[in-house]
């Protein structure tokens, strides 16, 4: 029997009662996005795995304690993921520049090495952006969210996200020393 897709508000309402089907639906709907977000930010699949799993366990704790997200569940999940990424970097500040699985392209050995080197530079540059800029770029490019979706997740206006995106990219351009000629 096909299941109608309940909207986020309905899901949240049932999730507050720890309804099994609602929780399962929430996990299947958002796990991929949260995993990709964490992978984009950290560059390591095992860290992304830990962070994504932890985000959902924290959701359960919040629901159980009556601190369930009130407005946007998706935004809440990304927010927790963002905090966990920050915690990860606080614990292991230099760890994630060693290997990058999110940005490196497959290729020959030398191409791979070159690619890894470039990816390391890019990741270092990303880490120097403000936390909000990093969050926005991860949503836009790691998860492929539109500006409108990013605005909804971040609780900002579309124009504010456009400005944030512009400033993040401009900063990135400077940090990567991309010339006018590209």
């Amino acid at each position: 029997m096909p299941l109608a897709e309940p909207d986020e508000k309905t899901l949240l309402e049932h999730a507050r009662r720890l309804d099994e089907r609602a929780l399962s639906e929430i996990h299947s709907r958002y796990y991929g996005e949260i995993y990709r977000y964490a992978l984009y930010r950290t560059g390591r699949s095992e860290v992304a795995d830990d962070i994504a799993g932890e985000v959902f366990l924290r959701l359960l704790d919040a629901l159980h304690a009556g601190r369930a997200p009130q407005t946007t569940l998706r935004g809440w999940l990304f927010g927790v993921a963002s905090h966990l990424v920050a915690d990860h970097f606080r614990r292991a500040p230099r760890e994630s520049v060693a290997l990058d699985e999110a940005l490196a392209a497959p290729g020959t050995t030398s191409a791979e090495a070159e690619s890894n080197l470039r990816a390391r530079e890019v990741r270092a540059a990303l880490r120097r952006l403000t936390p909000e800029q990093q969050h926005a770029l991860a949503l836009r490019f790691g998860d492929g969210l539109s500006v409108e979706e990013t605005a909804q997740v971040m609780g900002k206006s579309v124009n504010a996200v456009k400005v944030l995106q512009f400033r993040a990219i401009a900063a990135l351009k400077r940090l990567l020393n991309v010339t006018e000629m590209g």
Partner: protein, 403 residues
């Protein structure tokens, strides 16, 4: 240059590139800003993954298993807390109950009614007290109380069937199978006449009002589809999400992962399904779904090896103490040969256990013949050897925990 113009131009370029346009093509849309846009878009190219980021199915399944296991733990502690709150409930409702109890003829009557069954003289007292408890309970304690009463109705129905009594019963449970007018609901065989059930079907949670018969059948007088676990009943048209998900078509791992939902639960023909061991009532095998844990915890279907499970046509739900082979079609010459079950192997994470396991999104029936190696538990990665019956049911031969 005005930043506002550049911000809009950059956004326009990014949208066009996301739609598949090349760098040169998008720059051509803004020739006067091309020199400023080019390095920015080049920077974007370096931070945009070469391919959509892949979500490993194993990660998602393991997380799902942990998540659901933790949810079950919390639900249990929630129920205990609710019961605790009830027991420490404030004086006013307690006094109200006491008054009610006295009005009903004293504490002795209420106590005596506790173990009464449908048809007993004191059964009405028991239900009245329950109603009073429900109406006086604080809102947060009500769901747990309702679940408790639903469990009581199931136990009572089982008890009167065991005693071969013919009385009015009501209970709520999952529709596990439908064959003609014979329905398997919460482990009971129920006769549901055509048109009584509306659009309810296999996988739905329903409330049944009916009458038990000495032969173990329940004749439904009324049947109502319920929202399972409080979820709204599925509707044919999906309501648009308030926050539409990101374009996940590029992430097949997310959308292709089977979930434990009605849509992926196979209808199954377990070898035998007895409502409760020792009752002497063994409904014939039917197309079934695993029982809903919240309601049918007390129901533990027993299974025979699949070799004995020839898909028997259900012509009667009269109780039988014989194994299902006795009702399997014998070779009469005009019947087609019973297909052999196929043996398969697969690996996955154990998402839930019980009479029916969910492993890697697949529902697997276990029985007394299933061999368990290395004590597999929820969350473990296991290798499964199973028979796939002709209807798709998987019956586990062996479940082995892998390192």
């Amino acid at each position: 240059m005005n930043d506002g113009v550049l911000i809009e131009a950059l956004d326009d370029c990014l949208r066009a590139m996301e739609a598949g346009a090349t760098l040169e093509a998008v720059l051509a849309r803004h020739p006067q800003l091309a020199d400023e846009l080019r390095p920015m878009l080049t920077a974007v190219q370096s931070v945009r993954p070469m391919q959509p980021l892949r979500v490993p199915r194993q990660s998602e399944e393991a997380s799902h298993a942990r998540f659901m296991a933790r949810a079950r733990e919390l639900r249990r502690s929630h129920s205990r807390a609710a019961r605790g709150r009830w027991s420490r409930f404030s004086l006013v409702p307690r006094l109200a109950l006491a008054v009610l109890a006295l009005a009903l003829g004293g504490f002795g009557v209420v106590t005596a009614s506790t173990n009464s069954l449908p048809g007993d003289p004191l059964y009405g007292v028991k239900r009245t007290v329950e109603q009073a408890q429900l109406s006086l309970a604080p809102a947060e304690a009500r769901p747990a109380l309702e679940r408790e009463f639903e469990q009581r109705r199931l136990a009572e129905t089982q008890a009167v069937l065991t005693q071969q009594r013919e009385v009015e019963v009501e209970f709520t449970g999952l529709v596990q199978a439908v064959i003609g007018e014979r329905w398997q609901i919460a482990g009971f065989t129920v006769q549901v006449r055509a048109g009584l059930a509306g659009d309810a079907g296999v996988g739905d949670t329903v409330k049944v009002w009916g009458r038990t018969r000495a032969d173990g059948l329940i004749i439904a007088a009324r049947l109502e589809k319920r929202a399972e676990g409080g979820m709204p009943a599925p509707t044919p048209t999906a309501e648009p999400s308030a926050t539409p998900p990101a374009p996940t078509t590029q992430a097949p791992a997310l959308t292709a992962t089977p979930q434990i939902t009605e849509t992926s639960r196979p209808t199954a023909i377990p070898p035998t399904a007895t409502p409760t061991p020792g009752t002497g009532v063994s409904p014939a095998p039917m197309n079934t779904l695993p029982p809903t844990p919240a309601i049918t915890n007390t129901v533990s279907p027993t299974m025979s090896p699949p070799a004995t499970v020839a898909p028997a046509p259900i012509v009667t739900a009269a109780p039988t103490t014989s194994p299902p082979t006795t009702v399997a079609p014998t070779s009469t010459g005009d019947d087609t040969e019973t297909p052999e079950p196929e043996e398969i192997e697969f690996e996955g994470v154990v998402e839930s256990t019980g009479g029916v396991w969910v492993i890697g999104g697949q529902t697997v029936v276990v029985n007394a013949q299933t061999e368990f190696r290395n004590n597999p538990q929820t969350g473990d990665w296991v290798r499964v050897k199973a028979w796939r019956l002709t209807d798709g049911t998987l019956v586990a031969r062996r479940i082995e925990k892998k390192n």
